[in-house]
Amino acid sequence: MMPIFTRMLARLTRARGLHTLSVVFFALALTAFVFGIGGNTSDLANITPGLVWAVLLLSSLLGLPLLLETDWADSTLDDFILSPIPLPALMALKMLAHIAATALPAAIAATLCVFAMAPDAFSPQLGIGLLLGGISFSAIGMLGAALTLGSSRAATLQAVIVMPLAVPPLIFGAGAAGAPLLGVSPVMPLSMLAAFTVSAATLAPFAAAAIVRMKVTTP
């Protein structure tokens, strides 16, 4: 399994450096929002938890065009289907590679941003929530990448498909992140987020496998 995962990760991070780009994109998008809203520190402190969640969703879209398209172009997907390893397991590995390349670095960047911009909202649960959210976004992103496989406007379509489906983790995650500022407990939204993440990360590899098989074998 290890050489398989290494290659999947290398396809995302080597040369194109998706992990670095994710952090850079995260910082750029957040700065763009701040330029749009204004740099008043106390105003920003209130909206920072929600802001980093929205930007986390945007940065999860970055790696999707690379996720399956390169494997489709050089017929690695054929080899996935013909492998004795079940296709859903390979899709789960793909999802892990995408999490490692985008969700993990972006979640760390987001946690640090909240620490710097809104210290009152910073807590250990915040980082856990952001990582769970990143996993959810990658799981949904996996579906977006599979659905748009072979389309000439894949990247745009992926954004249009993923963002509405990602509303629940976004709402629960941002709700949990902002809870300390409203003086309410983050337990309920955080557990809803965890439940969504577990279900999405379990189901997405199976759905993605079925979609990829359909795409590759459609005559």
């Binding site: 399994m1 290890m2 050489p3 398989i4 290494t6 290659r7 290398a10 396809r11 080597r14 040369a15 390169t70 172009a73 050089d74 017929s75 054929d78 080899d79 996935f80 289907i81 013909l82 492998s83 004795p84 390893i85 590759v216 074998t217 005559p219």
Partner: protein, 187 residues
């Protein structure tokens, strides 16, 4: 042995091979010939189970290797990583290659020529022992020495009871092979 019974393969609604009934015995090289777009690749994909036949069936199919015509992209990946990946995927072991790639095992693909990358791709045939080889344009980009190695490899494979089904634009490379014509002139 590989048996095709009334196999009909279509691509994008167009029939590429109609009611093919054929027995391919052990030790056979079967060459698929025909112009571009005549359905050789679709037929191979049908044999590999990557394309559902419109009708008919494929029986007694042994375990197989499928090598598509897609070249290895000129990325930063090295042949060693590539072969380790495919070995893991096929549940085999990356072994010695007859294609003389030992010297370039750690040179990234973006510094290798088309022919060298083709040699690495063909080396996948060594990662596990499979009775049936489905090869799409295996001779693409190979030099004379590489071609010689390929022909010897396929000959020893069929001598040991293996089967090779080859889609190619160079059918003259296998003068003694059984052939199947696609497109104009097909039976």
């Amino acid at each position: 042995m590989l048996m095709l019974e009334n196999l009909t393969i279509a691509r994008a609604g167009a029939i590429m091979a109609l009611n093919v009934t054929r027995t391919v015995k052990a030790g056979t090289v079967l060459v698929l010939k025909g112009p571009n777009g005549s359905g050789k690749t679709s037929f191979l994909r049908g044999l590999a189970g990557l394309l559902k036949p419109e009708a008919g069936a494929l029986t007694n199919a042994p375990s197989f290797h499928w090598l598509s015509a897609q070249p290895i992209p000129p990325s930063l990946e090295t042949p060693r990583e590539y072969l380790a990946f495919h070995a893991a995927l096929m549940g085999g072991q990356a072994g010695a290659s007859p294609f003389g790639i030992n010297a370039i095992l750690d040179t990234p693909f973006n510094r290798l020529s088309t022919g060298q990358r083709q040699r690495v791709k063909l080396s996948r045939l060594m990662v596990s022992d499979r009775k049936l080889w489905l090869l799409d344009e295996p001779s693409d980009g190979l030099d004379a020495a590489g071609l010689e190695t390929l022909l010897t490899l396929i000959a020893s494979h069929t001598d040991n009871g293996g089967i090779a089904v080859i889609a190619t634009h160079q059918p003259h490379l296998w003068p003694h092979a059984e052939t199947m014509q696609f497109g104009a002139g097909a039976a």
